[in-house]
Symmetry: C2
Subunit: 141 residues, 2 copies
């Protein structure tokens, strides 16, 4: 079975990016959390890699976004978070507690409809459902 490290290495090499411990650490944090903010990535990596700089995290997030390895998710009134591009899913955000969850929901039909209506070539879609999660519902009047 292929290890994750090897996958990250291939992913980076394919895009002509060098494989550095910082980049691998960032990708590991993003994968293990699903979606995570820059500050949280930095805080977590610093525990095992104290010399890493916040600027390095920023630079790498930008580089890897440009290379379509990562993408950003932004729920209303929350920090930008990042996730791996190969995760095909939508998001649901609780307006009350702020949690952000992944939902396996196929958007390919809607993408086709949008392409037909607009004449655009559609190759991605970012979807965030806004609502109240089951836990918060219990606590409401």
């Amino acid at each position: 079975m292929m290890t994750k490290i090897t996958n990250y290495e291939n992913e980076l090499k394919t895009k002509n990016l060098k494989v550095t411990p910082q980049r691998v650490a960032i990708l590991k944090e993003i994968e293990s959390s699903g979606h995570i903010s820059i500050e949280d990535i930095y805080d977590r990596i610093k525990k095992t890699y104290p010399s890493i700089s916040l600027a390095t995290v920023y630079k790498n997030i930008n580089t890897m976004q440009d290379a379509h390895i990562l993408r950003s998710v932004k729920a209303p009134s929350q920090k930008q978070k990042f996730e791996l591009c190969d995760d095909k899913h939508v998001h649901v955000s609780c307006q009350k507690c702020g949690r952000l969850e992944d939902v396996r929901l196929d958007m390919s039909e809607v993408m086709k409809t949008c392409a037909n209506e607009t004449g655009y070539d559609i190759y991605d879609v970012s979807t965030i459902f806004i609502g109240i999660c089951p836990e918060c519902k219990k606590e409401l009047p």
Copy 2:
């Protein structure tokens, strides 16, 4: 026929917000443009209302967002923009030229599916399709 001004007044009064010329001007700019950034709102209003302050625009955008009169739209690698909450539509963004367009596309079925799968009460959805617009397609290899 009811004027727009009256609508804005009612909208604000219903939410216990005072009707000020600044707020009405902001709402007018957002409505006429569909979606617009804070800086653009400020620049346009200043032409007819030179004394308005950027801080006032920020404060009002936040207040009216909290009151669910406005909502924000954020396409990847672009500034936050704002639109009226009563506009039910999705967005399509061209990755090449950056334009953002509205698309009348009904998401209510997808919202139901999401609610069923997650147990959330879903009351809104933010959708941005990413692609290449017809004009930019012509210029590509």
